[in-house]
């Protein structure tokens, strides 16, 4: 099962560089301006990050909510719906650069807190509804009639860490414009980094609006986890190794599960990450079996 962990690390590394191939831009402060930015990545990856090749779906969605028409983006919604139905939160575990970053942060030697976050985990749905949808649509500039990207502006640590810090480091003119908002965003980013060193994937579990979207699909996604009840001995080893603090044997498709595979590694063969075939997916028999 070491193979699964290595596979995950490899996948995270590959997807990080696929979404952020222009690493040299970190040193120049330039951003990529090519046509790939028409496409949204499935993970949280700020489009102002100098290395980013594609656009962030949450940033793009807010662009339309806050825009002149205050409309929902069909393109972004379609990408999220399709990615969610196929992968669910597998994207959080294997594709998202912010998740990858938090996995690194969690490796820092600090005391660790294993919290179920039973109530706090619902905060991400509030963040999605309020900061991504409602506020950009309702709080409008009196002259332009446009809203603001509230999540990007006031919360998103991805923008602060991977966009603001490298861009401001290499651009003195922009650096001279920083003030209270930058101080606030830096404080939020540092608080999230600090908490993520102690609590596994704190941002994904509590704050991330993209995680909130994908969690809605975890129970029905094509890529899912299964538990063979005939092989399960109820030893609870899966629960002990789960960093998300769920019980994989009884909730293999919990909205919180990011398919990290720790439980599969520990299990004697009852738990496995599986993907339904296209035939299963469209089959009526498959509908009945669930």
């Amino acid at each position: 099962m070491l193979k699964l962990i290595k596979t995950r690390l490899f996948a995270q590394t590959v997807f990080f560089f696929l979404q952020n191939p222009f690493i040299k831009n970190f040193f120049t402060g330039e951003i990529y301006r090519g046509s790939a930015k028409r496409v949204c990545t499935p993970g949280l990856n700020c489009y102002s990050c100098p290395a980013a090749a594609m656009s962030c779906p949450i940033g793009a969605a807010q662009l339309f909510f806050a825009g002149a028409k205050h409309s929902i983006s069909l393109f972004v919604t379609g990408i999220l719906l399709t990615a969610g139905m196929v992968f669910g939160r597998f994207i959080c575990g294997y594709v998202c650069p912010m998740g990858f970053f938090q996995d690194f942060i969690y490796k820092i030697k600090t005391p660790k807190l294993r919290l179920k976050l039973k109530i706090a985990r619902y905060v991400k749905y509030v963040v999605l509804a309020v900061f991504v949808i409602v506020l950009p649509m309702l709080i409008l500039h009196p002259l332009s009639g446009l809203g603001e990207a509230w999540f990007c502006k006031y919360i998103c640590p991805m923008g602060t860490i991977f966009a603001a810090f490298p861009i401001l480091a290499s651009n003195e003119a922009l650096r001279s414009l920083t003030g209270g908002l930058f101080a606030w965003k830096t404080a939020v980013a540092l608080a999230i980094i600090g908490t993520s060193a102690v609590i596994y994937r704190f941002f994904c579990r509590v704050i991330c609006p993209l995680g909130a979207v994908y969690s809605l699909f975890n129970g029905v996604a094509l890529v899912r986890m299964g538990c063979d009840r005939r092989k399960c001995t109820s030893c609870n080893r899966c629960e002990k190794v789960c960093n998300i603090c769920i019980t994989p044997a009884t909730q293999p498709n919990s909205p919180e599960c990011m398919r990290c595979g720790n439980c599969v590694r520990e299990c004697g063969g009852a738990l496995k990450i599986e993907s339904k075939s296209a035939y299963d997916y469209f089959s009526r028999n498959n509908e009945r079996s669930h």
Binding site: K37, G59, G78, A163, L177, L181, W184, F282
Partner: protein
């Protein structure tokens, strides 16, 4: 039901492309987002 959602997702992507949404996203994404970097 699952297949329906998947098909709806793909149809939404196509509708968005037809309406030119990717171009609108690109116009925003090719400039540094001052809000994102804490200058807004």
């Amino acid at each position: 039901m699952r297949a329906a959602f998947l098909i709806i997702g793909i149809v939404l992507i196509i509708c968005g492309v037809v309406q030119g949404e990717p171009d609108e996203i690109m116009r925003k994404a090719v400039t540094v987002c001052l809000e994102c970097i804490g200058i807004g």
